[in-house]
Symmetry: C2
Subunit: 693 residues, 2 copies
C-alpha cells in the first residue's frame, strides 16, 4: 500500500472528541488544534460544540473527511470504521486500546476486514497516533509536540515514543514524522518505511521494533530504502529473557535473533544495541553528510580524550587516517612545537579557537581524511562557544562530516548550543562520537552497493519436484542419504553413490563405484545409524561388500526389527578434504535461514557459524565464507592445502536456491560437504519435509 | 609510602602566587581561599600582599607549612623543592609543566631526587592539583570546585579531570577527593589507591590511567583495596592506535592490553569500556548498596523499555529473577488484571505512583531478587516526581540496590532531581541501568572473595638454578628440548626422554626408552628442525634408531654445516592425548604473563587463549581452563575421552611458579603438553634466557 497523503490531510475528524479536560478525546483534539491549518471536525453525539468548534453527532453528518482519529472505546470501533468507510474516509488512526494486546484478537481482525473492504488505511489500534511537523499536525495523544527536522521515527512502543520525544525536544533534535505503530493491524513498519522513503522531508529512518510482521517484504522494502536513506533499528527481544517479555506484552512472535541479524545485514539496516546508540547515530545522519571513505582524523586539546577516541575507533575497525605530508607540514608550521601534528592532532591545552580552525582546515583538506572528530575539554584558554563557532564555520566549507565532542557540563553548555544550532552533532563522551562515525562509514558502504540479484543457476527443478512429491506424505518426512541425488540435480557435487536393495545389487554397485567404499543403511527410522552398525567404511572389494551387507542386515534385523529399511547406499570413500556444513531451517518471519560453518568442533563447540536469509547473492556467499573465525583454515595454513573456496561459494548459492525453490523442505543439513583443493562433494544429508498440507 | 595528611593540611603555601588575574598562580590562590579554613601563605618575592593576604618572598621566611603548591616555571622547581625540603615541608603539589612530558626528563629526575632526599611526597609535576571536599581545599588550577561525596578520583589526564568535574557538578555527583596525577614522578596511582582505601570518606575509587608505573605493586595494592572498596578504571591505549597516541603524549610505556586485562581481573579492578560507563558504575556504587545475589527484578510502566532492560541484562549475563509464589500472589491481588506480574513487572501505562510502591514492596521482599531496576516513561497518568519519591521511600526500607531509569527529557527533570537528592542513581536509557547493576553484581563477587595465595608446591629450584647458570651466557639464550628436564624438576610430567650424543648412546637410550620413539636434534641454531630432517617419529627398533641417527647427522652436516649440534633427544612416542599449550612472556609492567590454550588451530587461527599474570592461584588456573571457548572439548564431547583437567591445572600452577622463580627466563612455550584421560606429558619446549646482566 502507499500511504501518500496519510500524514498530510486537509481535514481531520476526531471520533470521540471530548469536552472533559484530561480525557484522551480532549487531549487529541487540543493537540490537533495547536498547529493544524486544515479543517477539524470533532465527532461526539452528546455535544454541539467543543471549545468553540462545531461538533457533529457522527461521521456521516460531518463534511468530507481525509483522516479520522478514533478514540472511542474498543467495542465501538468497528461501527465507527464502517461509518468511515461508507463516508469515503481514506485514512484512520485508531488510538483506542483493548484489542489484540488485551486478548481481543477477534475484534482487531474485524477492524482489519472493514478497513480492507473499503480500501482504507489504518494506523493502530493501540497507537498513540502520529505527529507530522511539516503538516503542523499532532494527531496524537502525546503530551508534547515535535521539533521540525529530518528524522522519521516509527515505534512499536508508545511509551518509548513519549520518552524519546521528550528527550529529543530537550536536545533540540527534530523529526519530520513521528509514528506510534500500535498493534500494526493494517499499516506496518514496511508501509512506514516506504512512506519515509518517498517523503522528501525525511533523511533518516528510525525504527523501534519488537517483531516484524512480514519478514520477506521487510527485507525487500528495507533493501530498496537503505540505498537512499539510512535505516537505524533497535529490535528488542534480542535474548531469551527479552523475548519472553515481548511475547507477554504483544501478540508478536519474535523471530530468532540470528535471523533478524542476517535480515538486517542483508537489507542494509543498521542495528543499534541501545536506545542511546539510536540517537547517537540519528544525530550524525540527520546533521552531517555521509563520508566518502573510512579513515578519520581526531583533533583534540588534550591527550587523554584523544587516546580514548582513537581506542574506540580502532576497536570498531575505523582507521585513524595517516595524514599526508602536506598536512603535516601545514600543522608543523602553524601549530606550537609541542603540538601533536600526527593523528590525533593535539592542539594543546592552551588552544585558542583559531588554533582549532587551523587544524580543522589542514585535516579537512587532506585526501586521506574522510571524516573528523573534534574534541574539546574545558581548559584554561578554552573558549567553548567560539570554538564551536569555528567548528561550525569549518563544517560549512567542507562536505566531510564533522562530529564534535565538547566534554563537560555547565562550562560547555554554550558551545553545545552553538553546535546544535549549526547542525554539528555533539557527543558527551569521545567513545560515542567514535560509535557514530563508525555507523556513518558502515552506511556509506551500504548506500554505495549496487543492487544485485541472486545469480541465475542451471538446476533441474523438475526432477527434484518429482522426487519430493513421491516421498512426501510417506513416513515422517525425514530423509537421509537416499536423497543426496537432490543435491546433484541442483548442481552440488555429491560423492559417487548408488542405492542397492539386494545382495547382488550391492555387489554390482560396489564394482561400479570402485573401492574403497562406504556402506550406509537407508532408513528414516534409524537416527543413530552407527550405533546399530548401519555405517561401515573402508570396504575394499566385492566379497567384503557382500559380507558387510549381510552383517548389516542381520544386525539391524536383530536390534531394530521394526525399522523399515530402504536398502543401502554404496558410496565412494573419499580421502582428505576439509569438512564444512551447509544447513537451513525456516524462521517464522524470514523463511529459509542458511547456515555455514566448518565441520565438527567448529560448529558444535565453538558455534563458529554464520547465517543469511535465502536467497543469497554472490556477495552474501562470499561474506559467509569469510565471516567464520576459522576462515584462515580454508585458505590453508600450517602446510595444509587450501580448500576450493569457489566450490563452497557455488554450493552455497545452489543450496540457497534449493531452499528457496522448495518451501516444503523445512530443514536440511549437508554434513559434511567435503572440500578439496579442487572441488567438493556432499557426503551425507538430512532433510525434513513438511507434513502434506 | 603513606599519604596520611596529604589532602588535609593545616597550612598551605602557594609558591608562585600571583597578583595578575587569570594567571595560574592567582587562580590556584583564589581556589584555595574559596573554602579552606587553614593558614594560607602566598610566596612571591615581588609582592608584600596579594588580595589582602600577607605574602612571603620565599618559603624559608614563611611560617611552618604542611603543603606547598608550586606554580613557578619548570626550571625553578628544583630550587623551590630544595627550599621546601630544608624548611621541613612534608608534601608538595607541582602544578608547573615542562618536565618529562615536554622532553625534560632530567629535570623531573632531579625533582624526584630532591623529594626523596628530604622524605617529602610530591604530586605531579604537570598536575592540575587536587580537590579535597572534606578539607574544603581546592588546591588546583581547576575552574570549578567539586561537590562533596564519596567518590575518590585520580586521573592521569588533567583535561579529563576538568571535563569530568564540570560534568559531575551539573549532575550533582559528589567526590571526596579529586586528584590530577600529572606525570606521577613520585606519587603514583598506587599511593592514591592506598590513600583512598584508608580514607573513611571514600567509598568508590575511580581511575583514569594511560599506563601503570609498577605493575606488580599495582596488583598487590589494588587486590587489597578491592576487597573493601570498588575500583573502576578506564585504561586508555587499549588498541594500537590508542597506544600510539599515548606514547606520543606521555613518557609512559603502555603494556600490552591482554596483560592489563589479566592484571585488572586478578586484582578485582572493574575495567570500564568508556568514560560514560565509569560514571554509570560510579553512580551506582556511590549511592546504593552492593547486592547480595545476582538475580534482578525489573519494574516498568511500559513493555518496550522493560524488554530493552531485560535484553541488556541477559546479554550481560545478569539473570532476571524468577519471582516467588508469594510475590506473584501479592502482585496479582493488588495490580490490575492486565498488569505483567512476572518479571519484568509491568504496572501499565496508567500506573500511579502508589502502584509503583506496591510493586516495589512486593519484589523487594522477594528472596530471589537481589536488586531492582525501576523504569518509568512519561505517560498519561505518570507523576514523575511522586513516583521518584515512592522509589526513594522504598529504597530506605531495603538494603537491596535500586537503580532507576526515568526516561525522557523535560518531563522527567523533576523526578530526576528527587532521585538525585535521595541518592537513587538514574539512567537515561534502560541499557545503562542494566550495565550498572551488572558491574555491582561483579563487584559483589570480588568483595566476597577470600584472599588466597598461590599454593605451596614441592619443586626442585636448586637443580633448575644450576642448569640455567650452566647454559646462561652460552649461545643466544635459546633452549629447546634439551631443557625439558627443567619442567620435570618443577613437577610437570615430561614424555620419557634421554639425550644422546653418539651412535652407541643413541642405541642404548632407545632401548631404555622403548619403542616407538621420536628422535629430535638438539641445536638452538636450527629453528625449523623438521625442514632439515631434524625430527623423526615412529622409530620402531634399535637398528632403525641407529640408521635414523646417521641419516640425521648427515643431513644436518650437509644443509647446516655451521650449526652446533648438542646431540639428539630420544623421546618415547606417546599415542593419543589432546594438545594444549602453556606459554609465558614478560610484560614490561606486570612481568610474567601466562598463556593457556588448546594446541594447533585453536591458538594459531582462532586465538582462543587466555592470560594471567604469574604467580597464579588455584582459582586463576581453574578460570584459565574454563575460559577458553574450546573448554567443552577438554570435558570430552562426541565420544572423545575427557582430558585430565586436574593435571592441566597442576601443570599451570607449577609453570607459573617456574616463571616467577626465574626472572631470567624471558619466554617459554610448552607446545604441546599432551593431556590424557589420566595425566599429561610435556613433549616439546622452547625457552629463552635473558642475556647475562
Amino acid at each position: 500500500m502507499t500511504l501518500e497523503g496519510f500524514f498530510s490531510p486537509d481535514s481531520v475528524a476526531i471520533v470521540g472528541a471530548s469536552r472533559a479536560s484530561g480525557k484522551v478525546g480532549r487531549i487529541v483534539l487540543e493537540n490537533i488544534r495547536q498547529g493544524f491549518g486544515g479543517e477539524i471536525y470533532p465527532i461526539n453525539p452528546g455535544a454541539d460544540e467543543i471549545d468553540g468548534l462545531k461538533c457533529y453527532p457522527d461521521i456521516r453528518s460531518a463534511p468530507p473527511v481525509d483522516l479520522a482519529v478514533v478514540v472511542v472505546p474498543a467495542a465501538a470501533v468497528p461501527d465507527v470504521l464502517e461509518e468511515c468507510g461508507a463516508k469515503g474516509v481514506s485514512n484512520v488512526v485508531v488510538i483506542s486500546a483493548g484489542f489484540k494486546e488485551a486478548g481481543a484478537a477477534n475484534l482487531e481482525t474485524r477492524c482489519v476486514e472493514i478497513v480492507r473492504k473499503y480500501g482504507m488505511h489504518m494506523l493502530g489500534p493501540n497507537s498513540l497516533g502520529f505527529i507530522s511537523t511539516y503538516s503542523d499536525l499532532n494527531a496524537s495523544f502525546s503530551a508534547s509536540g515535535a521539533i521540525q527536522g529530518n528524522i522519521g521515527l516509527a515505534s512499536q512502543s508508545g511509551a518509548l515514543c513519549t520518552a524519546i520525544l521528550d528527550w529529543a525536544n530537550l536536545r533540540g533534535i527534530g523529526f519530520s514524522t513521528f509514528v506510534s505503530l500500535g498493534n500494526k493491524a493494517d499499516i506496518s513498519e514496511n508501509d512506514i518505511i516506504n512512506a519515509f522513503l518517498a517523503d522528501e522531508n525525511t533523511n533518516v529512518i528510525l525504527l523501534y521494533l519488537e517483531g516484524i510482521k512480514e519478514g520477506r517484504r521487510f527485507m525487500d522494502v528495507a533493501r530498496r530504502a537503505t540505498r537512499k536513506k539510512p535505516i537505524i533499528v533497535i529490535k528488542s527481544g534480542r535474548t531469551r529473557a527479552g523475548a519472553r517479555a515481548v511475547s507477554s506484552h504483544t501478540g508478536t512472535l519474535a523471530g530468532s535473533d540470528a535471523a533478524y541479524d542476517a535480515a538486517f545485514h542483508q537489507s542494509g539496516v543498521i542495528r543499534a544495541a541501545s536506545v542511546e546508540e539510536v540517537f547517537d547515530y540519528a544525530l550524525a545522519f540527520s546533521y552531517q553528510n555521509v563520508p566518502s571513505g573510512n579513515a578519520i582524523a581526531i583533533i583534540t586539546n588534550a591527550g587523554g580524550p584523544g587516546v580514548l577516541a582513537a581506542d574506540a575507533c580502532e576497536s570498531l575497525g575505523v582507521p585513524i587516517a595517516t595524514l599526508g605530508d602536506e598536512t603535516i607540514q601545514k600543522l608543523r608550521s602553524s601549530l606550537p612545537p609541542a603540538a601533536g601534528i600526527y593523528n590525533p592532532v593535539d592542539v594543546l591545552g592552551d588552544a585558542t579557537p583559531d588554533r582549532y580552525g587551523i587544524a580543522l582546515d589542514a585535516v579537512m583538506g587532506d585526501n586521506n581524511v574522510a571524516g573528523i572528530i573534534v574534541l574539546a575539554s574545558p581548559q584554561a584558554m578554552t573558549d567553548m562557544e567560539r570554538t564551536a563557532e569555528i567548528i561550525a564555520d569549518a563544517s560549512k566549507r567542507s562536505e566531510k562530516p564533522i562530529l564534535a565532542g565538547l566534554m563537560g557540563g555547565g562550562m560547555v553548555e554554550g558551545g553545545r548550543r552553538v553546535l546544535s544550532e549549526n547542525r554539528i552533532p555533539n557527543y558527551e563522551f569521545p567513545e560515542r562520537a567514535a560509535g557514530a562515525i563508525h555507523a556513518m562509514i558502515a552506511y556509506a558502504e551500504i548506500a554505495a552497493e549496487r543492487e544485485i540479484d541472486p545469480p541465475d543457476l542451471d538446476v533441474d527443478c523438475e526432477s527434484v519436484r518429482k522426487l519430493l512429491d513421491r516421498v512426501r506424505g510417506r513416513g515422517d518426512g525425514r530423509l537421509g542419504v537416499e536423497c543426496l541425488s537432490i543435491l546433484e540435480k541442483y548442481g552440488i557435487a555429491v560423492a559417487n553413490s548408488e542405492i542397492a536393495a539386494t545382495r547382488d545389487a550391492v555387489i554390482d554397485s560396489s564394482d561400479r563405484i570402485g573401492y574403497p567404499l562406504v556402506m550406509k543403511v537407508i532408513s528414516s527410522e534409524i537416527s543413530h545409524k552407527t550405533d546399530v552398525g548401519g555405517v561401515r567404511t573402508g570396504i575394499r572389494n566385492a566379497e567384503e561388500a557382500g559380507v558387510v551387507y549381510d552383517d548389516m542386515m542381520h544386525r539391524i534385523g536383530r536390534y531394530m526389527p521394526e525399522a523399515r529399511v530402504g536398502g543401502v547406499l554404496i558410496q565412494k570413500m573419499l580421502g582428505g578434504g576439509r569438512e564444512v556444513i551447509l544447513g537451513m531451517n525456516r524462521d517464522p518471519q524470514f523463511g529459509p535461514v542458511i547456515m555455514f560453518g566448518l565441520g565438527g568442533v567448529s560448529v558444535e563447540v565453538l558455534k563458529d557459524v554464520t547465517f543469511r536469509i535465502a536467497p543469497i547473492t554472490e556477495k552474501d556467499a562470499e561474506e559467509m565464507i569469510r565471516e567464520i573465525k576459522a576462515y584462515p583454515m580454508l585458505l590453508g595454513i600450517r602446510g595444509a592445502e587450501p580448500s576450493d573456496i569457489g566450490a563452497i561459494k557455488d554450493s552455497l548459492l545452489r543450496f540457497s536456491k534449493l531452499c528457496t525453490d522448495f518451501p516444503e523442505i523445512t530443514e536440511i543439513d549437508i554434513n559434511p560437504l567435503l572440500v578439496f583443493k579442487k572441488g567438493c562433494a556432499a557426503v551425507d544429508i538430512r532433510l525434513t519435509l513438511e507434513e502434506q498440507i
